[in-house]
């Protein structure tokens, strides 16, 4: 994506979300051929090559229609998803996706918009029968709290709080209502003082982000990042499905604080129920005057729309995500400029993870001091962790930041039969028992070189096929690399080739190449993935696997 292309679309009066129209077209007619591309490009006022580039980028826009989308996120992969996918693809049109966010009940798959749990021992015929039988989505995950106060998970696991009346009865929008009576600066100051750090993985100060955007000339945008891409974490899905009003309220508070009139909730397409729930909640909120013009009669105007993702992991990175909304390939852009200076459509944009936003009404309602009383000095507040099916007690656990990992593992039913836990997805860490005493907070983990990521924790049992996991990760990297920079684009494929070939010298070649990719890549995807891969290689070597 280039500034020139963005300017061209703006000057030509292109639709604001060009790829949504393509998505609708594909849903009805399948992937576009050259003639359809030309016609779509004319209608969308996009250069035809740019549209072709985008369509070829997003799996959802060019994949042939499939009856089933089998999850092969890390948790499902460890639970045998690859074999299941092979079996199913002999029975019906089938594609694989990275993580439908049901890691607590792996393996899982999507039949249209419905989630089907395969059950660890089920054969493909059985799974297909189940998928075609219809029925309700699986029940929500178990939600528990080790923190003295529930902040993130306060409306989870209680049933029905996605509905506006129930949510309001539970206090939703009361922080917004009070905030609108005061100046925006009060909200901004509270969030700055709270010391909240982004929950998406990078841990950047939320308040500093907001302050920077508020200081840049408008119009400004708020984007809620619900593209929970890290296989192994699913708290964002559950938040969007069970507490959409917490997210909407957080986004509205952010918009009020920074002076934005429009916002977008970006939800990955692998979460169809989250998309539907968010859309319904936004409609309800708008109808109740909680979104739209002059919210609650305050004169403050802000509205939200849902932008469904189209099948790309890199979209979780904020500049890539903004590009996707604008109609481009989801490629990370070199920074500066940062999105708070030049984001969506080149305007100042706050991109916050949905969990980050859910914290905000609590901070505004209870004050920054109450927030800072939780967690650590440098990492205040709580964090919701996702525990996968490999634990005795999978589900979501909210903990105070600074809680030792070992306490979480103990709460999850113990980890004696694990060789390691995988934290933070493919850009995270392979955490060995020697590091399980690490406190879960940015400063302590950085010291140990451990990444919390988005808080997904996947159990790695003693009998896990570590070589299969290695190939799984490298395949993921090769398939999801955006292709912009040489080390990641070509290095990811080379890594996979070397790992597949194996043999003497493979380890040394992999190490050298992992270092080149990590040192040389443009964005965190290429820079970070080599780290857990290297840790996994160590583990494999130690175990002689």
């Amino acid at each position: 994506m280039s500034d020139a292309l963005r300017s061209l679309l703006a000057a030509r009066g292109a639709p604001r979300f060009p790829l949504l129209e393509v998505r609708d077209h594909v849903a009805r007619h399948g992937p576009p051929d050259a003639a359809v591309l030309r016609a779509l490009a004319d209608r969308l006022r996009m250069p035809v090559a740019a549209l072709r580039g985008a369509v070829s980028y997003y799996a959802d826009l060019h994949a042939e229609r499939a009856e089933l989308c089998v999850c092969r996120g890390t948790s499902c992969a460890l639970a045998g998803a690859d074999g299941l996918a092979d079996g199913l693809s002999r029975l019906t049109a089938c594609r694989t996706v990275y993580c439908v966010g049901h890691c607590d009940r792996s393996p899982a798959l999507l039949a249209g918009e419905r989630v089907v749990l395969a059950g660890a021992a089920a054969g493909p015929e059985e799974v297909l029968r189940e998928a075609r039988a219809g029925g309700a989505d699986p029940p929500p995950p178990d939600v528990r709290c080790l923190a003295p106060e529930r902040i993130v998970t306060r409306r989870l696991g209680r049933g029905g709080l996605a509905r506006l009346d129930r949510a309001r009865a539970d206090g939703a929008y009361s922080a917004l209502e009070r905030a609108l009576a005061g100046p925006p600066e009060a909200v901004l100051a509270a969030v700055v003082a709270s010391g909240e750090r982004g929950r998406g993985g990078a841990g950047f100060s939320t308040g500093r982000k907001w302050r920077a955007a508020a200081g840049a000339p408008g119009p400004r945008y708020v984007v809620a990042n619900g593209d929970e891409g890290d296989p192994g974490s699913f708290v964002d899905r559950v938040l969007m499905e069970e507490d959409p009003h917490g997210i909407i309220e957080g986004a509205a508070l952010c918009a009020y604080a920074v002076g934005a009139a429009e916002g977008i909730v970006f939800v990955r397409s692998e979460y169809p129920r989250a998309i539907a729930t968010m859309e319904r909640a936004i409609r309800e909120a708008r109808a109740a005057g909680l979104l739209g013009s002059s919210i609650l009669g305050s004169g403050f105007t802000f509205d939200l729309v849902v932008f469904p993702g189209m099948g790309s992991y890199v979209c979780g990175e904020e500049t890539a995500l903004l590009g996707a909304i604008e109609g481009f390939r989801a490629e990370a852009r070199p920074r500066p400029p940062y999105p708070v200076e030049s984001g969506l459509y080149g305007r100042p944009t706050v991109v916050n993870n949905v969990e980050t936003l859910v914290n905000v009404p609590w901070i505004v309602a209870n004050g920054p001091d109450a927030y800072r009383a939780l967690g650590t000095e440098a990492s205040p507040g709580t964090k919701a962790l996702s525990l996968n099916a490999g634990f005795a007690r999978p589900g979501i656990v909210e903990v105070e930041l600074g809680t030792p990992l070992s306490a979480v593992l103990e709460e999850a039913g113990g980890a004696d039969d694990l060789v390691a836990v995988l934290m933070g997805g493919p850009m995270g860490s392979v955490v060995r028992p020697r590091d399980w005493d690490v406190p879960l907070c940015h400063e302590a983990m950085a010291e140990r070189g451990v990444e919390l990521g988005h808080g997904g924790i996947v159990a790695l049992p003693r009998d896990a096929d570590l070589r299969a996991l290695l190939l799984h990760w490298l395949t993921f990297m090769a398939e999801e690399s955006c292709g912009r920079c040489v080390p990641c684009r070509i290095g990811s494929r080379r890594l996979l080739e070397i790992a597949r070939a194996g043999g003497p010298g493979a380890r040394a070649s992999l190490d050298r190449l992992l270092d080149v990719v990590s040192q040389g890549s443009l964005c965190a995807f290429g820079q970070r993935i080599p780290v857990p891969v290297g840790e996994l290689l160590d583990l494999i070597e130690e175990r002689g696997a």
Binding site: A4, R45, A50, G483, G520
Partner: protein, 889 residues
């Protein structure tokens, strides 16, 4: 700024630019592939990684700004090893035959040589086959390294968006359209991508591979009036390739399809190479001596028999100032007639007349540099994207960087697509629209009162006219909505504005009135004489500006000096040895009509094909055929030349020296890049030979000496111009003294005529409006691939891109007429008919048709009628009532 950072120990200035740029300033070249000066950073190749003290990992020098206090190292062992490994990754994806390290090879091969990466474990597989589907560019996927320089150059330099990246991960590849066939894409073949490609993956098909370039000559492009400087590489006596001069102010290295690639005409086998004399129905080759003696004899005989005013001359807008000057001097001072004109008559004569009336000078008041600094731009009756592509790109870039644009054009042109407001005016109704806009400005007070009071006159008359103007009726006549008009007025009323105009304002019965009405807007907004604003009419041919500057007009001597003035004639007599006649002569169209009536008996036509470009084509042919003498200087046997008694083979552009003057009044030096074929001679020499044969004692050592005389003949405009001063970017006239720097903007301190004149011009419907039985309105014009009557471009591979004239028609109209793409259709007016293929196009408005006139066989100008602007005598090419019919089976 003081140095505040270090790069490899050298003090460097952190001023917000990238490390790679700052390093170049201190003489350190950091290896790179995707980065290219002037293009946005890509950050893809990762070869420019450098170490910054305190940073966790190497950073890319191309997209990391040098900050105060940074300590940068660009060539540690670790970095060099990292670069080698990264380059090895890239190298391993190409087939073994793709590249080899070579210090004299492509940029990529030079880098292989310099960095010496370890050999890849195995060569990459062969990719898709070489794509040679396009006549000018070819794409070799085996050589593509996905650096995306081409993509960025296409967007940033040309303003097209031809390229994109498809796929992801290791499967990414460059695509240039909806299919894998390059020619199916939207490439306009400007060649900007070729210039930046580091591997040769995208290359010119016209490079004559293997032949060493014998000579390279810096000169000026011979197509449109933009005046791009080119470097012409010649090998084996032919043009090997043409490149934009990177340091030229006009085009900064950029060119268009015609200028860069359409040069095969030069070596076309049907070039005229010997004088041809037609006597008694037979044509024979003659020597130059015989040809010149014969021509001089005939001129003398006819002048003696019918008087000198029975003779006339058309100078060539394609040839040099020096040639035009000598030819008009020949007819004025030697033959003794003011029947001197050129094809400017049939294009911008209305513009020149109107600008002279409004400002006192007939040239553009602004210059191209104003495009980048303009507050707002209006493009009226012009489609520079196709007809003046390099200027079109400059305008597009300005718009993409945020300059608001109003486009006034019946067609939805590429610029109209980008415009803040597109006013799709009915052809021929400009005055109604422009007056309505003026009324909105005046009545809302969005005019520059101080400027109007201090610098203009006629405000009262104009205000009175506008007060009485029925606004709604005017907009109805113009076919423009109130909302659009008001949004346009909001843009224009914001302050000084740059008004770019074209033949859509000029080639009308209300041509002069249209340009006057546009000038009113420029004056009301205080735009003329201000930087980033003013009037910038785009001239159609390379030297049409220069021809009129040189006196190729029946009432004007060189430098726009009125022939009727005794003082002017006295000055010219002093320079020429004989004065021109006092009485102004006939215009081009008048001369042709006088030929029909027998008043004109002999015509001399240099480089031009009025048989094809004039309206009422059949009448024109009869007139030409009735002449007692028709002499044509030409490079090819045109329809006009076919009717000549004597055809003199002339040197073409690229083959003769002198000067061209572009649309911004910039006089630039033209140098011959190669010799003309056979016995063809430069135009200026031909005039000289004829004058001598007629007994004149002319003596010039070359075009430079002719220019020295021009400086004496028209000192106010050209007194300071000499070839010696024109090296580099030339001079904008007026340039009255040898130490004068030239004048990029006119009327800065005051108008040439004293005060700028607002003019109360009333709208009058066009005679071709609402003609019963002729429901469509036809516009004629040019397309990107061809130049004017196509004499040159039809003899190049451009014909593969645009093989015929086509009739553009709105898809709904096409459907109603039962026309599918390519169906042949007869376009018929009250004056004549043409048969062409139909091309349904959404850029046409319903009821409006567009027809190009590049191919003689389509006879587009048979359809255009006899109407002229009453003042400028410019024909009305832009409005003709027509109907459509199916061709006879």
């Amino acid at each position: 700024m003081r140095p505040n950072a270090t790069i490899d120990g050298c003090a460097a200035v952190a001023d917000g630019r990238s490390i790679i740029e700052a390093a170049r300033d201190v003489g350190i070249e950091i290896p790179h592939l995707c980065w290219h000066p002037g293009l946005p950073a890509e950050g893809g190749c990762r070869l420019c990684l450098v170490e910054v003290e305190g940073a966790a990992r190497p950073v890319a020098a191309c997209h990391t700004p040098l900050r105060a206090g940074m300590v940068v190292r660009t060539s540690t062992r670790a970095l060099e090893e990292l670069r080698r490994e990264i380059l090895a990754l890239e190298q391993g994806t190409h087939p073994a035959s793709a590249f080899r390290p070579d210090a004299r090879g492509s940029e990529y091969e030079r880098l292989l040589e310099a960095l010496a990466p370890p050999p890849p474990p195995a060569p990459g597989p062969a990719r898709a086959a070489l794509d040679a589907s396009h006549p000018y560019l070819r794409l070799d996927p085996d050589l593509c390294i996905m650096c995306r320089r081409c993509l960025r150059a296409c967007e940033e330099v040309q303003g097209s968006f031809v390229y994109a990246v498809a796929g992801r991960g290791a499967d990414v590849r460059l695509v240039a359209g909806p299919t894998d066939r390059f020619a199916d894409g939207d490439c306009v073949a400007c060649g900007a991508c070729v210039d930046v490609c580091p591997t040769g993956a995208i290359s010119d098909r016209d490079r004559r591979n293997g032949l060493p370039t014998a000579a390279t000559t810096r000169t000026v492009c011979g197509y449109c009036g933009v005046g791009c400087q080119v470097d012409v590489h010649v090998a084996d006596g032919r043009v090997a390739r043409v490149e934009g001069a990177p340091d030229a102010a006009v085009n900064r290295g950029h060119l268009c399809q015609k200028g860069r690639y359409a040069h095969a005409w030069q070596s076309s086998p049907d070039r005229l190479t010997r004088p041809l004399l037609r006597e008694g129905g037979a044509v024979r080759e003659v020597t130059w001596d015989e040809a010149i003696a014969w021509a001089a004899g005939r001129l003398r005989e006819l002048a003696a028999a019918h008087g000198p005013d029975a003779l006339g001359v058309l100078t060539s807008a394609r040839s040099t100032n020096e040639a035009a000057y000598l030819l008009q001097k020949l007819f004025r001072a030697v033959v003794g007639t003011n029947n001197v004109d050129c094809c400017a008559r049939v294009c911008h004569s209305s513009t020149a007349t109107a600008l002279k009336l409004a400002t006192g000078a007939a040239g553009a008041t602004a210059c191209y540099a104003d495009i980048e600094t303009a507050r707002a731009i209006v493009v009226a009756g012009a489609n520079p994207t196709e007809a003046h592509p390099v200027v079109g790109s400059r305008i597009e870039r300005a718009v993409l960087r945020g300059t608001p644009l109003v486009v006034i054009d019946p067609r939805r042109t590429a610029l109209a697509e980008l415009a803040a407001v597109h006013l799709a005016v009915r052809p021929g109704a400009n005055v109604a629209l422009l007056n309505a806009l003026a009324k909105l400005l005046v009545e809302s007070g969005r005019v520059d009162r101080a400027y109007l009071a201090e610098r203009t006159e006629g405000v009262g008359e104009l205000t009175a006219l506008l007060a009485a103007l029925p606004y709604e009726a005017a907009l109805r006549a113009a076919g423009v909505s109130d909302g659009d008009a008001r949004r346009a007025a909001d843009v224009i009323g914001g302050g000084p504005t740059l008004f770019v105009s074209g033949l859509g304002l000029s080639e009308l019965t209300q041509g002069v009135a249209s340009v006057l009405a546009l000038a009113n807007l420029a004056l009301l907004t205080g735009s003329i004489g201000r930087p980033g604003a003013g009037m910038l009419p785009l001239r159609g041919q390379n030297n049409v500006q220069g021809n009129v500057d040189m006196g190729a007009a029946p009432d004007l001597a060189p430098g726009y000096q009125p022939i009727a003035s005794e003082a002017v004639r006295a000055r010219l007599a002093g320079v020429w040895g004989a004065p021109p006649p006092a009485r102004p002569g006939l215009t081009l169209v008048e001369m042709v009509r006088a030929a029909e009536s027998g008043a004109i008996r002999g015509l001399w036509i240099a480089g031009g094909d009025p048989a094809q470009y004039l309206p009422e084509q059949e009448r024109v042919l009869r007139a030409l055929e009735s002449l007692d003498l028709l002499v044509v200087q030409e490079i090819f046997m045109t329809d006009t030349a076919r009717r000549a008694h004597l055809v003199l083979p002339a040197a073409g552009p690229l083959e003769q020296g002198g000067t061209f003057t572009n649309a911004e009044r910039r006089i630039q030096l033209v140098r011959p890049a190669l010799a003309p074929p056979g016995e063809a001679r430069p135009d200026w020499e031909i005039a000289l030979l004829v004058a001598r044969a007629l007994g004149a004692d002319w003596s010039y050592g070359g075009p430079a000496e002719v220019m020295d005389e021009i400086a004496r003949a028209a000192p106010d405009l050209f007194g300071g111009v000499s070839h010696a001063r024109l090296a580099g970017d030339g001079l904008h006239w007026p340039c009255p003294t040898p130490d004068h720097p030239g004048t990029p903007r006119l009327h800065v301190g005051g108008f040439a005529r004293g005060r700028g004149a607002l003019t109360a011009v009333e709208y009058a419907g066009d005679p071709e409006h609402d003609v019963p039985g002729f429901p469509y309105t036809l516009i004629t014009g040019r397309v990107l691939e061809h130049h004017n009557v196509g004499t040159m471009t039809r003899r190049t591979p451009s014909v593969h891109l645009a093989p015929a004239d086509v009739l553009e028609i709105h898809p709904d109209d096409a459907a109603r007429e039962g026309l599918r793409p390519g169906d042949r259709v007869v376009v018929e007016s009250r004056w004549g008919r043409a048969e062409v293929p139909a091309h349904p196009s959404p850029r046409m408005a319903p009821g409006i048709l567009f027809l190009s006139f590049h191919f003689p066989e389509s006879h587009a100008n048979r359809v255009v009628g006899p109407h002229l602007d009453p003042i400028s005598k410019c024909p009305s090419y832009k409005v003709t009532a027509v109907r459509l019919a199916r061709p006879p089976a």
